[in-house]
């Protein structure tokens, strides 16, 4: 089902809009996601790249090859540091928007967790969320 959603960073410099299908939310425990969020795991929501638009401000990107072997670019607000979305040339049709940036958090639908083998001892997710030891199969 198509939905109209919006989101922004903490300071409001960067905001985005999207009208389309809101895809699954993936919880990632990989080491890079842990560091990039400063938390136990990242939550990325899959959106169609062609329908995702930054409507104010500009993001800054940092590109690094992840444990999957794919290059990931993490896009953040250069003013306040809030992470906005991740993109990868391996999946050019999608962007993976950070769940915490949505203005309406109810659009986030948990689907699965990946890289569980790398999860920290202090926060594992044991409530039935489909789990993959490494990348999602």
């Amino acid at each position: 089902m198509s939905a109209r959603v919006s989101g922004r960073c903490l300071c409001g410099h960067v905001s985005y809009e999207y009208t389309g299908v809101v895809g699954p939310a993936s919880y990632c425990h990989c080491v890079d996601c842990r560091r990039a969020t400063g938390s136990a795991f990242n939550i990325g929501v899959e959106l169609e790249a062609a329908k995702f638009a930054i409507v104010s401000g500009r993001t800054k990107g940092y590109t690094k090859r992840g444990d999957s072997g794919n290059e990931l670019t993490r896009h953040f607000c250069p003013e306040c540091g809030s992470p906005i979305y991740t993109s990868s040339p391996a999946h050019p049709q999608h962007v993976y928007v950070k769940a915490g940036t949505f203005d309406d958090p109810s659009v986030v639908k948990p689907a699965h967790q990946s890289w569980v083998d790398s999860a920290v001892s202090w926060h594992r997710i044991d409530d039935g969320l489909q789990a993959f030891a490494r990348r999602r199969q």
Partner: protein, 139 residues
Amino acid sequence: MNDRENLISGGCLCGAVRFEIERRFDVYRYCFCSLCRRTRGTSHAANLLVAPDAFRWTAGERSVRRYDLPDARFGNCFCGTCGTPVPRLTLSGSAVIVPAGSLDEDPGRRPDHVVFWDSRVPWLPTPEQVRKFSRFASE
């Protein structure tokens, strides 16, 4: 225990910013407020509160950028190159807030309470059995 064993190191994703904390911290907690959600991009923050004299930058302090919300006791420090959250001295100067995910190793204990539980999102993974406070830990 020698001095090095008493320290935990950490840093940002690109490696520009590095720091150390002493393995003594009073508070290790989750915060579910809407502001932490935006700065972390995920459901909540996991933070250690460290005394200022138990913290030091070891590399890249000049790469650290700081943003403070106007009229609010909240802000974010991050690496200007990769955007990763890094430790932030509170405005009062009483503590350094250290993102647990930026540490190189397990801090050796688990978060013991949650603040701003009333602001939690519906897609919260079940946290461990921790004390939950509607707003601040004293409430």
